[in-house]
């Protein structure tokens, strides 16, 4: 069962994690290491978005790359076509993606099970095709550069783009999102969505209408992913249709399951492991895709809840039990 909610502990842990993130951003001097850590933090945020949909709604999305790319494209196009300040563009991109996700969710969360996964796959690929074909707006397969101005929120962009700073920004955003999700998990809304997830019929009997809570979780999940998309567009200054392809959604789903989505931090763990391991193994062997395939199968088959679940079980075993239970 879930542990009782201790707000003080959460606040302490959050501050500790933020301090750790800032310290890592300052202490690590290798540019390569920092850029990989930034990549890991961005994908951890992406995976956290996909994970919350699975955890709270029990829904599998094969199309979240669409939200990742949509916010980035939105920012790129606004910066190119309008004279709006970049701060406004960021807000507009996030808001537009979130509102779009909400409207979409109202329709698609009614569709059950595998059909929902197929539906998200279709929507994701639809956006991939649109980005690929609307050459005048998106630059087609070549993608477009995201032209950030010289200063952002009063700070020179070059300072923000320093590897240590961008990692710190991404990391802090990730920690805050995770803290928010822990609160959500313990809130009334979190309990409601879990009731719907476990048994929509019974939830309806006790007076809960399932569509709106489900749609809100979907919207939250898309908003988190869209934030990751903006960060990625800021970090690389570039967006192409490749970021919207369903294989990206599939890969992120793989990170989510490897990390274990029943823990709030599981998906982020999975993403960090994937990105770091891909870099480490990628140097040694060209077969890292197979290795991840094998790892994925082993984890799905042999663990209840990915690596974070396995870690938790190990920790529970290592701890001396105060009161041995007898049946």
């Amino acid at each position: 069962m879930s542990t009782p909610f201790r707000p003080g502990r959460l606040a302490l842990a959050t501050m500790g994690c933020i301090a750790l993130t800032v310290a890592i951003g300052q202490a690590v001097s290798s540019e390569t290491a920092l850029s990989i850590l930034t990549q890991a933090a961005i994908f951890a945020l992406f995976a956290t978005g996909v994970g919350v949909l699975l955890k709270q709604n029990g829904m599998v999305s094969f199309g979240h790359a669409a939200f990742f790319g949509l916010s980035a494209y939105c920012a790129a196009i606004c910066l190119q076509e309008t004279q709006w300040p970049a701060e406004l563009v960021i807000l507009v991109s996030l808001a537009a993606t979130t509102i779009f996700a909400f409207l979409l969710a109202l329709v698609i969360v009614r569709v059950p099970g595998i059909a929902f996964a197929m539906l998200t796959l279709a929507f994701g690929q639809l956006f991939y095709q649109l980005a690929l074909k609307s050459r005048s707006l998106t630059g087609g397969a070549d993608g477009i550069s995201v032209a950030w101005p010289d200063t952002l929120f009063g700070i020179p962009t070059s300072t923000l783009l320093d590897n240590g700073i961008i990692f710190t920004i991404s990391g802090v955003l990730l920690v805050l999102t995770l803290a928010l999700l822990v609160c959500l998990h313990h809130s009334r809304f979190g309990q409601t969505t879990e009731a719907i997830r476990d048994n929509p019929e019974r939830a309806t009997f006790i007076g809960i209408r399932p569509t709106l809570p489900r749609a809100l979780v979907f919207t939250l999940s898309a908003a988190i992913t869209a934030t990751a998309g903006i960060l990625a567009a800021f970090n690389s200054g570039f967006i192409s249709p490749d970021s919207l392809h369903w294989s990206i959604s599939g890969t992120v789903l793989m990170m989510v399951v490897v990390g274990g989505y029943w823990n709030v931090t599981g998906p982020a763990l999975g993403a960090a492991i994937y990105i770091v391991a891909k870099d480490l193994i990628g140097d040694l062997s060209t077969h890292w895709l197979s290795l991840f395939g094998v790892l994925l199968i082993v984890i799905v088959v042999f663990t209840d809840n990915g690596l974070s679940g396995a870690l938790r079980t190990l920790a529970a075993r290592a701890r001396p039990t105060s009161a041995p239970r007898h049946p």
Binding site: L54, V60, V107, I108, R110, V111, P112, G113, I114, A115, A117, M118, L119, L121, A122, F123, Q125, L126, Q129, L130, L132, K133, W246, S247, G250, L253, M254, V257, T286, H287, L289, S290, F292, G293, V294, L295, L296, I297, V300, V301
Partner: protein, 283 residues
């Protein structure tokens, strides 16, 4: 011009029908959305390519499906059968892992570049049909697609084994109680589905070049066919393949800007309207 496009649509529809019928069979019996199906199609094409180089196209046409049948039986025996009690997401992800492994295997064994196979001599000429010049090979592909559709329908509707497959698709537990060996049946059906993927792969090889990305494209198209037709329904899949083939080919010529989006819009509309697909009655 229009007639040629329609025929090209028929060719693509026939291919999709062969691939997607395998996917539908596996879904029908094992309730598994097989993400590795596209990569198995690719593996069949590459195995066929190697056999064709050494022993000719006709040998490849026989060996590739047989090899894939064997792989399918193993996949069921040591994979899907053991995963029966897992939730659908876990099984989907296992097939996704398999996809990664097969793609890496193909890239390792055959390289990343494009490979091409020439048509068999018997079918390399052109035919004059009603004033049009058509490559004989493409006509043969359409004929093969029709034969597969008829053959599978006959097998499912008229034979004893087909009856067992239909029964087991509806209710595996009761079917097993009636004395049907559902494990062997499952292995055969997954083998057959995989063999169909491999067969489509070798049939495609002479007119679409082989590349490590060929599986991904076909996977999404055959998902669309299976979803539009109704998950697990063969007749629905054949109909959807026919429609999708036309939409792809006619769209590419007359509406190039949005042609690739039309199938997705169609799929979305149908899933929202009837989540179980046109011919589906299961939820």
């Amino acid at each position: 011009m229009l007639a040629i496009n329609i025929i090209n649509g028929l060719v693509y529809g026939a291919l999709l029908a062969i691939v997607a019928s395998g996917l539908a069979l596996i879904y029908g019996l094992r309730r598994v959305v097989n993400f590795a199906h596209g990569s198995l199609y690719m593996l069949g094409a590459y195995i066929g390519y190697t056999v064709a180089i050494h022993a000719g196209f006709w040998a490849a046409l026989l060996v590739a499906p047989l090899a894939m049948f064997l792989i399918g039986v193993l996949l069921d025996r040591y994979g899907l059968r053991l995963l029966r009690d897992y939730d659908p997401l876990s099984v989907i992800l296992v097939t996704f892992g398999l996809l990664l492994i097969v793609e890496d295997l193909v890239q390792t064994l055959w390289g990343k570049g494009n490979l091409s196979l020439s048509e068999p001599g018997l079918l390399s000429h052109s035919l004059d049909v009603a004033g049009m010049t058509l490559p004989a090979y493409r006509i043969a592909v359409v004929a093969v697609g029709i034969l597969v559709a008829i053959g599978l329908t006959f097998w499912l509707q008229k034979t004893r084994m087909g009856l067992f497959v239909r029964a087991s698709s509806t209710d595996p537990a009761t079917t097993a109680m009636q004395g049907v060996d559902t494990d062997r049946l499952g292995a055969f059906v997954v083998g057959l589905g995989t063999a169909l993927a491999g067969f489509a792969g070798i049939v495609t090889a002479p007119f679409l070049s082989l590349s490590p990305t060929m599986g991904s494209n076909v996977l999404i198209d055959s998902f669309m066919v299976v979803v539009i037709g109704g998950l697990g329904s063969l007749s629905g899949a054949f109909l959807a393949a026919l429609v999708l083939g036309q939409v792809q080919m006619l769209g590419a010529t007359y509406l190039p800007e949005i042609s690739a989006s039309i199938p997705f819009i169609l799929m979305i509309a149908i899933l929202i309207w009837r989540p179980a697909g046109i011919a589906g009655n299961r939820t």
